[in-house]
């Protein structure tokens, strides 16, 4: 029995180890090594931090890096602000069938690919788009307005694309808050705002953290939205990775970019987890 249990354990462990080592750990180590390699001649390489030095000294790279980070944080904050009242409404203010219907309605847009969603925003926002035409028709503006190809358009797209990943964890945690606890808050003299601040929001922290982590990571790593909705000079860090890998074929520099992106996302996630006293297992698992 012990021997067969041991065999079973090994058989279950094997796929996990293969998956994690071959597809996650070793590739990332390999990418790190590649980013630390400098080409000194044809087929000749040496280990150096030249790629990182290039990034640090090239203003365009650093500016794009910081811009991507700041805009992703902003997108995360906006998504949270928009999603929280909606999630609260679904979790606590409606009941029964209406509740599950609203929740499903939240999910449906996300069963179609990000590309379709971005395409939708292009149709809406561009110069010949629906909103521009509508504004002209109402007489608010006299000529076509271009709402595409700027940072605001990127923001709209990012928030839209990430919404699901904020709403679902929020609804789940808010749902787990017993109504009696809210009633107790009122019964003891609390007002709507104080109950929200002292009871509802503290309870929702795990959901808020998990939503923010995923939304931030998705915004940071987004390629489609900035490419399609952003302007010529609104670069996104992922676009630079893509161009180094696919267009310029400078994999060493591209790998360094990739590592910086990974580092940034891990760092911010770590900070958020530390600040809120949450763990990755609790928020994601």
């Amino acid at each position: 029995m012990a021997a067969s249990a041991r065999l079973g354990f090994i058989l279950l462990l094997l796929p996990l180890l293969l998956w994690l080592t071959l597809l996650i750990i070793i590739p990332h180590i390999d990418m790190l090594l590649l980013s630390l390699r400098e080409r000194v001649g044809v087929g000749e390489y040496q280990t150096s931090i030249a790629n990182y030095a290039t990034i640090a000294t090239e203003p365009l790279y650093m500016r794009t890096f910081m811009r991507t980070a700041v805009m992703s944080v902003l997108a995360t904050a906006i998504t949270l602000l928009i999603a929280f009242p909606v999630s609260y409404y679904i979790a606590k203010m409606v009941r029964g069938r209406a509740r599950s219907a609203l929740f499903l309605l939240c999910l449906i847009p996300f069963w179609v690919s990000e590309l379709v969603r971005t395409f939708g925003w292009m149709i809406l926002l561009r110069e010949t788009g629906v909103i521009s035409q509508f504004l002209q028709w109402t007489g608010i503006v006299s000529g076509p307005v271009e709402m595409l190809y700027n940072d605001a358009a990127i923001m709209v797209g990012l928030v839209y694309t990430s919404m699901l990943f904020m709403v679902v964890p929020l609804v789940t945690t808010l749902d787990s808050l017993d109504d009696a606890v809210i009633e107790a808050g009122y019964d003891l003299g609390g007002s709507g705002w104080s109950v929200m601040r002292e009871i509802v929001i503290p309870h929702a922290v795990p959901g808020i953290v998990s939503g923010c982590i995923v939304v931030f990571m998705l915004s940071l790593g987004n390629y489609l939205t900035p490419t399609m909705l952003g302007g010529k000079d609104s670069l996104w860090f992922t676009e630079m990775i893509y161009s180094q890998f696919i267009v310029r074929f400078n994999w060493e520099l591209g790998a360094a970019f990739g590592f910086m992106l990974l580092f940034l996302s891990s760092f911010i996630i770590w900070i958020v987890l530390r600040l809120t006293g949450q763990t990755l297992e609790r928020t994601m698992g």
């Binding site: 597809l23 309605l105 449906i108 179609v112 939708g120 149709i123 992922t238 990974l262």
Partner: protein
């Protein structure tokens, strides 16, 4: 705030209108995509030129419909193939992982669990390039050492499948684990007590119990694979899955053909979701 607490009428009205606006925001982009699939025009934009089904069934240029556009049909096929492979692989490994984490206590379990979660917080494009880098390293090594040209390690469907599998497996593991945790192990013990072997007990008792989660994970995995963009972009070879093919077209300029494809995608997802809900309800 909750229905049992008296709330000012104005607050309720404002809150409800906000939620309505939110859903308008959610549905508007999809609605315009769907509507313009029927516009009898070269461009998916106003003015409305009349209703047509040409973007689905048209066979003459310039209005070649989806069902006569070999490139798009081929891409749909490619995506479906990739989706099925990814779903099968990730559900198989996900089920195995769920059993491992649920049934065994071992050293390093906590660490492995965190490692298992990591793909969720690694940007997809980084996952893509790391796998691209590693596989080319391997391919180059193979060539240098043994002069074997390993096409499967070069960008192509194989890598796309592996790349998507690398993070979708985490989701499959979480979905299946969640249900396995609710499983009452005494049921398995009862089966053993009634004469089943351990494997038979798992096969006849535990797996049927897990079935809703397994099917759910498979559908989710398939859809995630079908709509994946970032990881796929870095690993794709000559056979482009649908999202990449559409992206390439979109860069050249959009035609209502893309709206028609999008609408079909929406319908497909909708049908899958319905099947999933029906399945969950039944069991």
């Amino acid at each position: 705030m909750i229905p049992t607490i008296p709330t000012p009428r104005a607050l309720t009205v404002i809150w409800t209108s906000y939620v309505v606006l939110f859903f308008v925001y959610l549905t508007l982009p999809l609605a315009v995509v769907a509507v313009f699939a029927f516009n009898d025009s070269q461009f998916p934009s106003l003015p409305w030129q009349g209703f047509t089904l040409d973007w689905f069934f048209g066979s003459a240029a310039p209005k070649i419909g989806v069902f006569h556009e070999q490139a798009i049909l081929g891409a749909i096929g490619t995506s479906a193939f990739v989706g099925v492979c990814v779903a099968a692989l990730s559900v198989a490994v996900g089920t195995s992982n769920a059993f491992l984490f649920n049934r065994y206590k071992f050293r390093g379990r906590g660490l492995l669990y965190i490692l298992m979660l990591l793909p969720l917080v690694v940007p997809g494009i980084v996952l893509g390039i790391s796998i691209l880098v590693f596989s080319s390293t391997m391919a180059n090594q193979l060539w240098d050492v043994a002069k074997i040209d390993s096409a499967f390690l070069r960008p192509g469907l194989g890598l796309v499948i592996l790349g998507q599998f690398s993070f979708i497996t985490t989701i499959a593991t979480l979905v299946i684990s969640a249900r396995l945790q609710k499983f009452d192990t005494s049921l398995e013990e009862a089966a053993l007590n009634l004469g089943a072997s351990r494997l038979t007990a798992v096969r006849t008792i535990t797996i049927p119990f897990l079935m809703p989660a397994i099917v759910g994970a498979a559908v989710v995995a398939f859809l995630m694979s079908f709509e994946n963009f970032n990881t796929t972009l870095m690993l794709v070879g000559s056979d482009a899955p649908l999202t990449i093919a559409m992206f390439d077209r979109l860069k050249e300029g959009s035609t209502p053909l893309l709206n028609a494809v999008s609408l079909l995608l929406m319908l497909g997802s909708f049908v899958l979701a319905l099947i999933l809900i029906a399945f969950q309800k039944r069991s």
